[in-house]
Amino acid sequence: MTVLQRRLARALPANEAWRPRRRLQRLLDQAGPLLRRPGFVVALLLVLFTLVAALAPWLFTQFDPYATQPSAKLLPPSLSHWFGTDELGRDLYTRVLYGARLSVEAALLAVGLALVCGLGLGIVSGFVGGRLDAVIMRLVDVLLALPGLLLALAIVTAIGFGTLPVAVAVGVGIIPGFARTTRAEVLRIKTLPYVEAARLGGASWGRTLLRHVLPNAWGPVAVLATLDIGAAILATAGLSFLGFGAAPPAAEWGTLIANGRHFLITAPWVSLLPGLFLVLVVFSLNHIARTFEEVQR
């Protein structure tokens, strides 16, 4: 600022009219540039579509996912049956939409569990430090050393089959990533001058943690969470493909794909189209995560 600008600034009458800007407005300002990226918008729309389908699948289809119709079995994709039909004549598109509920539910549960546990462990570990840090991190190391799918299989066999156990099993497998990322961020941020300034300004440890450390550590963790929803969807689908997930006739993406492999030669769409949809959703989530990561930089 030059001397002139400074004098201008002093003379400005705007001081009286000023009021703090609302949070929503700030959020909208930030979202603007994101919405100008076509790839991001397409990915976001697909994910939103999946989420809405998971909540209210009947909005997008007039078929019943459980109504069998033997005369219309294994029909190829057409205008009336977009994804074709399965061996019992059920509309596959409808079953994918209804299956979204179980798959998305399981994935969100898994990531939610991992997020809560991982963030908690990471923050405690990074903020308290010392022996507690060493103990927590060695536990995390042990978890990291086990292959994810093996760990999940072991947990599912221990606590039973079904959507919830599968979600827990997958969630436990991705805790270590969250714990590590959070801890690294907390360690970095707690030495920054603005944290010291807040402390010297009289802020308690709790306030410093909640208002300064957590929001600033949140960025990479949020990216990881978005990325891991995709991974969790894949893992739950994998477990239900192996038969640990939802029991038939409930539709779930993994079981849909598993069902179709009997007809892979004669009716490949039964397996491939649900698989393709799954891939698209995971890909969209990855793209969103990647975009967030770029924006942060």
Binding site: W18, P193, Y194, A197
Partner: protein, 534 residues
């Protein structure tokens, strides 16, 4: 002789996201072999872009729109990467800005110098090791054979800067471009390195381009000066002429802002009659224990007293214990010996909870305004945070307090909605000062408050601090390595060296008639002395 650099009407612009920013707008200048040219300007004036263009290292988003840019007779404005690469190292050498990050931490010093020797002489150059040692000796490092085997982290900032100079010299260039070569270093080290660079360049007949925001540095070293502002050259000519009789108002403004050029305002005198000291150190010492049972004496028997409304400056190079004394005053460190009194209360042994009420009366302004504000907090949130932490004000009152604070630091209230990244360095430092003033403290601790800022902005912040002191009667403890800054603010001065007090007393007396050799050295290191003396 032919010109080494010949720039005519050069225009460079940055293109990103559909926006075009003109960084250099029609600059013309030339440089003869053996000459020293200083390019002076604030941040954003286009001086670094100009240097990158000379090196052929413009980023991909930059475009040379117009003009001619010839180095050693070769036009490189649109030359291929390969031909530019031939120029770098052999014809043009660079001494980069930040010695802390400019060396490869995984290679030894000798290897890094060797790299540029190999580039110059070919892979099977027989005299490699001897040349490395000789170069290290030339740039003034003791025990060059040992230094060649060491790694960057084992050297201090000043030594690393010397290594970088050695690397630039290794290619035997005709021209060295030094981009703010010493702004990250202590003043005394700065002086020694610049002296040395000057000698080397003179001895070898190399031309030198110094890029700096500090007119003092330019005045001391350069034959000619080029003053840039917003991508344009506002003034150029012989150094002495430009600086003693500046023609352009901007140059005059820069000169007035440079603390070393005599016209610095002095602090207002404060009557002390019968006042009790606000902060008092009695024989305070601090020992840090290091691994393997060793210990390090950071501070020894420091006595000082800060009176209400007065400024006490603690001066010293890095490692002198000046930051430690601040941290002790703030209760972030406990003194190993001696007593610390704040407003009559012994604070040396208080724990965090007991200290908390005192924080309302004592606040800190940090060194680096770029890291001192939470990037996610709006300026409003940052400024009022201490008030919220202590639960003093709510709602409307809080907004009023924010407006009043912004007025005090002379920023428009509309800035309250901005995020820190939308402000310049000087503006951020104003916000940090506003935050420190929020609780209406009696004492502000200023930790190098202007060292991260441009010279002209420094002067504005110092003015602000002086005005605030007159208005609010706050006492300051100012920690600085820059005596020019100290002279414009301090009533009392303590000079520290390696944890010990070298000299102490009234500012006028210490700065005008220094008794100790060390103080005199510090004073001489202030850039711009040669011109001020002449």
């Amino acid at each position: 002789m032919s010109r080494l650099i010949d720039v005519e009407n050069l225009k460079v612009s940055y293109h990103s996201g559909g926006r075009v920013t003109e960084a250099v707008r029609g600059v013309s200048f030339y440089l003869q072999p053996g000459e020293t040219l200083a390019i002076v300007g604030e941040s954003g004036s286009g001086k670094t872009t100009l240097a990158s263009a000379l090196l052929g290292l413009l980023p991909l988003t930059a475009r040379i729109d117009d003009g001619r840019l010839a180095v050693a007779g070769q036009d490189i404005s649109h030359a291929s990467e390969r031909s530019k690469q031939r120029l770098r190292g052999r014809v043009v050498g660079l001494v980069p800005q930040d010695p802390m990050v400019s060396l490869n931490p995984t290679l030894s010093i000798g290897r890094q110098i060797g790299e540029s020797l190999v580039l110059r002489h070919g892979k099977r150059y027989p005299g490699l090791d001897a040349d490395v040692v000789e170069l290290l000796q030339q740039v003034g490092l003791d025990d060059p054979a040992l230094r060649a085997t060491q790694y960057p982290h084992e050297l201090s900032g000043g030594m690393r800067q010397r290594v970088l100079i050695a690397i630039a010299l290794a290619g035997e260039p005709q021209l060295i471009i030094a981009d703010e070569p010493t702004s990250a270093l202590d003043v005394t080290v700065q002086k020694r390195i610049l002296d040395h660079l000057e000698q080397l360049v003179k001895a070898r007949g190399i031309a030198l381009v110094i890029i700096t925001h500090d007119l003092g540095v330019a005045a001391d070293r350069a034959d000619r000066v080029l003053v840039m502002r917003q991508g344009e050259v506002v003034e150029s000519g012989a150094a002495r002429q430009v600086l003693s009789a500046p023609a352009h108002p901007y140059t005059r403004e820069l000169l007035a802002a440079a603390p070393a050029f005599g016209a610095t305002p002095r602090p207002l005198p404060v009557a002390l009659a019968g006042k009790q000291p606000l902060l008092r150190f009695d024989g305070v010492g601090k020992v840090f224990s290091l691994p393997q049972g060793r210990s390090f004496q950071a501070l020894q028997a420091l006595d000082l007293a800060v009176y209400p409304g007065q400024t006490l400056a603690i001066v010293g190079e890095s490692g002198s214990g000046k930051s430690t004394s601040l941290r002790i005053a703030l209760g972030l460190e406990q003194p190993s010996s001696g007593r610390v009194h704040f407003a009559g209360q012994d604070i040396g042994t208080l724990n965090w909870k007991q200290f908390r009420p005192l924080r309302q009366r004592m606040q800190l302004v940090q060194q680096n305004p770029f890291a001192a504000l939470d990037p996610r907090f709006s300026i409003y949130q940052s400024v009022v945070e201490p008030l919220v932490s202590f639960g003093l004000l709510k709602g409307r009152e809080l907004e009023q307090a924010a407006r009043r604070l912004m007025e005090q630091v002379q920023l428009p209230a509309s800035y309250l909605d901005r995020l820190p990244r939308e402000l310049s360095g000087g503006q951020r430092q104003r916000v940090a000062i506003a935050r420190a003033l929020a609780l209406q403290p009696d004492l502000l601790l200023l930790d190098e408050p202007v060292s991260a800022l441009d010279v002209s902005v420094q002067a504005q912040i110092l003015d602000l601090l002086r005005e605030l002191q007159a208005e609010l009667g706050v006492a300051y403890v100012l920690v600085s390595h820059d005596l020019a800054v100290v002279a414009s603010l301090a009533h009392q001065v303590v000079v520290l060296k390696q944890g010990q007090v070298v000299e102490q007393g009234e500012a006028r007396q210490v700065l005008e008639q220094p008794r100790e050799l060390y103080t005199r050295e510090l004073l001489e290191a202030v850039p711009g002395r040669r011109l001020a003396v002449a």
